[in-house]
Amino acid sequence: MKVLGITTQQEFYVGSKERNFRINEFLVVEDRQGDLIGEVVEAETFNRYIPLNVYGDFVDASVIESMKALGYDVDEETIYVAKLRLLEEALYPVETGSDVRIPRFSEIKNLMLRTRKEDGLCLGVIRNTDSLYDECEDEFKDLLYTFEERGLVKQRELPYIMDLKSMHHYPHIGVFGGSGSGKSFGLRVLLEELMQKEIPTIVLDPHYEMDFSDCPDYFKDEKRDFNGSFKCLQVGVHVGVKFEDLTAGDLKNLLDASSPLSDAMNNVVDVLFKNKDSYLSFSNRLQALTEAQEEGSVQRIQQKIETAKNNDEKEAWELRKELFMQYDKTCPYNSVKGILWRLRRLYNEGIFSKDSRDIENYLKDGFLVVIQGNTRILQVYSTYLLNNIYHKRREYKDAQYKRVEAPYFPPFIVVTDEAHNFAPKGYDSPSKSILKEISQEGRKYGVFLALATQRPTLLDETITAQLNTKLIFRTVRASDIDTIKEETDITSEEAKRLPYLRTGDVFISSAVVGRTIFARIRAAYTISPHTQNPFDELRQKKDEDDEKFMRIISNKLPISEMDLLNAVMEIERDEKITLAQDELIQKLENLYKKNLIGRESTPFGYRYIKL
C-alpha cells in the first residue's frame, strides 16, 4: 500500500494492488514526519480493462473468459484505491509514495477503546476492526454477539463502549433512523445496558414494546434475566396523578396537553381551583356553576330556590346562586364547560385514580421504569411526571448546594421513542417545555435525555442542539439527512451512505470522541413483545379456531344437511354456543375444504362425516 497522487495535510489517496480497502478502517502512513493515523473515508476498486472501455469498445464476457483460458487474467489488473483522511492534520502534506500499513492495536487503542467496560455501555462493535481483534486485551473480548446475515455471530471486532461517566459533560443522547433501521432495537440495547448498570431510568413507551421479560430463541442458552431491574407501569392502571397534590399550574398542564387551553379557560382554572381540592370537590364546583349559568340569571335561580321540593335541593340551588354571583362575570359558560369536559375525560382515563409514588420508589431503587399508555395520555402524564421528579431532583441538589436538608432523589435518565411527539418543532406542547428545560440544564442536576425519533427534522431544534451523542441509523428522507448533517460532525461521504446502511449499522457521532464511529449494535438479550409476524398470527388464530370447532362437532358427526337444526340445538345445549344454520354449514364446508372432515352426497343433500 502506497500513498498516491497529489496529497494534502488532511486527505490523500492510497493505492494497493493486493488488498481491498474497507470504509472506516484505520491505516498508518509511514511518512517522513513520523507515523500518521488516518481513516478510510472512500474505497474504490478499478480495473483498467473491465467493464471495459479500451478505446470505447465494450468487451464481452466470452473474450475475458477466452483470455483466462489462455492464462491471462484481466481481473488481476484490478487496483484498489482508498481516500484516507488523517485523524489529526499533519504539519506538511504527506509524501507521495510513502508506505501505508495496517496499524497495530496499541497504536489505535486510544481512538477506539477509551472506556473500560465497567464504566461504559457496551452497545455493539466497531465496524471493520476485525484485524485488530486478536491483539486487543482480553478485557474487551467475548463481550457480546452480533446479528449478521448468517445468524448470531460471536464478537470478532472491537467493542463499542459508550462512556457513561462522560455524560456528566456531554449529557444527552439522540437516536435517529427511519422505521426498520434498527432504531427501536438500538434503544432496547441501550436500555439493557442501563439496567445492567442499575441506572434509574424513566422510559416513555407509547408502543407498549419496552418489555424485557421475553428472551429471543437465539439466546435460550445464555438467558439474561432483567425481571428484577425493570417495571412496566400503565398510566391509569398502575400509576396516575394524585389530584390532591396538584397545583393550579400542574392541573393546567394536564388539561392543556391534548390541545392548548384558551386564556379564558386558563382563567377558569385559576379562579375556580382551590388548593387541596379533590377531584370530586373541583368537578362538583364546575358542575354547579355550569348548571347555574344554564339558568341564566339570579332571578331564575332564586325562583328555583323558592320552588324547591325539599331542603337538599334548596341548599344545592343556594350554593349555585352563590357561585353564580361570584364567578359568572369572570368565567364564561363555554370555558367552564370546556374545562369540565377535559377534566372528565382525564378522569375517565383513570389518571386521577392512582398516584406516582411507585415510580419514585422504583427509581430510588435503580429500576428502569417503563411508563406505558397511548401517545396522548403519555403526553399529558409525562408533563406532570417529569416536572414533578425533575424538580424533586433539583430541589435536592439545590438544597445540597445551600447546605440545607432535603429528601434524597437520585439522578436519572429519561428515554423516549417518537420523541418528536413529545417535543415537536414549531408549536408548543406542555411536555416540550419540560424536555427543553432538562436538555438545557439537566446536566447540572444529573438528569439526562435519550431521545429517539424517525424524524429529527420534526424535533425541537433547541433540544436537538443539546444532544451531544447521536446514534444515526439508516435514514432515507433527504430533509432528515440534511438535519443530521447540520447537527452532527458526520461527513458528506458518510451522509451519502445513510440511505444504504444495513439494519443495525449505525454512525455514532459523539462529542467525547470528536469524530464519527461506524458501529453495529449488538444482538439484544431480550425481545419486543411485538415480534410475531401478523400474517403468522392470522394463520395461527385460524388454525386454533378450526381445532376448537373440530372438538365441538367431532362427536356429533355425521351431520346431514337435513337435520342441521338438531345439530345446532345440540351444540347450543352442550357448548352454550349459538350458531345460525348458515353459519354451521359454512364452518363445516371450511373444515371439509381443509380435509379435516369428509363429505358425501345423499339424495337429501350433503352429509358431513368423520374421516
Binding site: 479500451v54 469498445d57 464481452d60 473474450v63 483460458a69 492464462g71
Partner: protein, 327 residues
C-alpha cells in the same frame, strides 16, 4: 457566430460527386464483389471460435506474446524535436515478465543534410526504421526468455522486412527453429491486392483502389478471405495473408503469416476472432491492452523532459510556438 464559407460547401459537394464517380463500379453493385473475390482473390471461409480445450492447449504450449511499439514526438519542426520509442512484448502467461525497450532520437545530433524536401522523407524513414527495430528487438528478447506458442506483431509484417531486415531475419529463424508461430494483425490495411486485380479487368477504373475500400461490408462476421498463394507469390513479400471480419463492425482486419507457416493462417485467424469482442472495432482485446500499456502519454513525456533536460536546452530546442498556443 461561426458562419461557413459557401465556397467550402460547394467544394465538398463536388468532392463527394467525384468520389462517387470513381467508385461507381464498386458502389453501384453492378459487380458481384463476393463472386469476384472467390474467383480471383481467394477462398472465403467461415471461422469458428476456439473452444476452451484449444485455448488450454495454446496456454500449455506457452501462450501468446503480443508486441507493439509506440512513438511520441515532442517539439516543433525539423530538427527541433525529440522522439521517444517504446516497444512492449506482453505474454498471456502471467509468469513471463513484460519486456520493455526504449530508444530516443533527435535530428539535432544526427548528420542529415539541410535539404528540407528530402529531409521529410528521411525523417519518416528514420522514424519507421527505429520503430521497427525496437519492436523486433523487443519481440526477440521476449521470445528468447520463454518460448511461446505464437508471437503476434501489431501491424503488417512487411514493414519489418523493409526497416529491420537483419533483426527480422534473426527473429524468423529463431521462430522457425523453436516452432513459434509468427504472425501480424493489421488494423488499418493499406494493401491494394484486390484493387489491382479489379483494375486488370475493368479498364475504366482509374487511380489507386485499396483493399479496405473494396472489402468494406463485403464479409460477414466471422468470415475470412484467404488469399490464393499465386497472388501472395506475386507480391513477393514472403508472407501469406488473409482478411478477416473479426467483429460486427463492417471493417476488416488483415492477417499476415510467414510463408513457412501459411498452413496455420486460418488457425491464427480463429485465435484472433476468439480474442476480439463482438461489438468492437475488430481488434483483439489483448492487442488493445498491449497498445494501451506501451503508449506514453504526452503529459508524461513533457514531465520527463522537463525533469531530465536542462531548462535551457529544453526551452531552446524543444518548445515550439505551437506548444505555447492556448487559444
Amino acid at each position: 457566430m461561426l458562419s461557413i464559407n459557401d465556397e467550402l460547401k460547394t467544394k465538398l459537394t463536388d468532392l463527394n460527386g467525384e468520389i462517387a464517380k470513381k467508385y461507381s463500379p464498386i458502389l453501384n453493385n453492378n459487380l458481384d464483389m463476393k463472386l469476384f473475390l472467390e474467383q480471383n482473390i481467394g477462398t472465403i471461409v467461415t471461422l469458428k471460435k476456439l473452444d476452451d480445450k484449444e485455448l488450454a492447449r495454446i496456454k500449455e504450449k506457452g501462450g501468446l506474446i503480443a508486441v507493439d511499439g509506440s512513438t511520441n514526438r515532442k517539439g516543433g519542426s525539423f530538427p527541433h524535436y525529440i522522439e521517444l520509442y517504446q516497444g512492449l512484448a506482453k505474454s498471456t502467461n502471467p509468469d513471463v515478465d513484460d519486456v520493455y525497450l526504449t530508444d530516443i532520437y533527435t535530428p539535432i545530433l544526427s548528420e542529415i543534410k539541410e535539404n528540407p524536401l528530402e529531409d521529410v522523407e528521411l525523417e519518416t524513414d528514420e522514424k519507421n526504421w527505429r520503430l521497427a527495430q525496437i519492436e523486433v528487438k523487443t519481440a526477440l528478447e521476449s521470445v528468447k526468455k520463454k518460448t511461446p506458442y505464437a508471437l503476434v506483431m501489431d501491424g503488417g509484417l512487411i514493414r519489418y522486412t523493409i526497416y529491420a531486415k537483419e533483426l527480422w531475419k534473426e527473429l524468423v529463424e529463431y521462430c522457425l527453429l523453436n516452432d513459434v508461430i509468427l504472425f501480424g494483425t493489421i488494423k488499418d490495411i493499406k494493401t491494394k491486392i484486390i484493387g489491382e486485380e479489379i483494375k486488370n479487368r475493368y479498364e475504366d477504373l482509374k487511380g489507386l483502389i485499396y483493399d479496405r475500400e473494396v472489402l468494406f461490408g463485403q464479409l460477414q462476421y466471422k468470415e475470412m478471405l484467404v488469399i490464393y498463394d499465386e497472388l501472395n507469390k506475386k507480391e513477393q513479400s514472403g508472407f501469406s495473408s488473409g482478411f478477416l471480419r473479426s467483429s460486427k463492425s463492417p471493417n476488416v482486419i488483415g492477417i499476415d503469416i510467414i510463408e513457412e507457416q501459411r498452413h496455420l493462417l486460418v488457425d491464427m485467424a480463429r485465435l484472433v476472432l476468439t480474442l476480439t469482442p463482438e461489438n468492437s472495432r475488430g481488434v483483439p482485446l489483448f492487442l488493445d491492452i498491449v497498445d494501451k500499456e506501451v503508449k506514453i502519454s504526452d503529459d508524461l513525456i513533457k514531465a520527463l523532459l522537463e525533469k531530465y533536460l536542462d531548462r535551457d536546452i529544453y526551452e531552446r530546442l524543444f518548445v515550439s510556438e505551437r506548444d505555447k498556443r492556448n487559444l
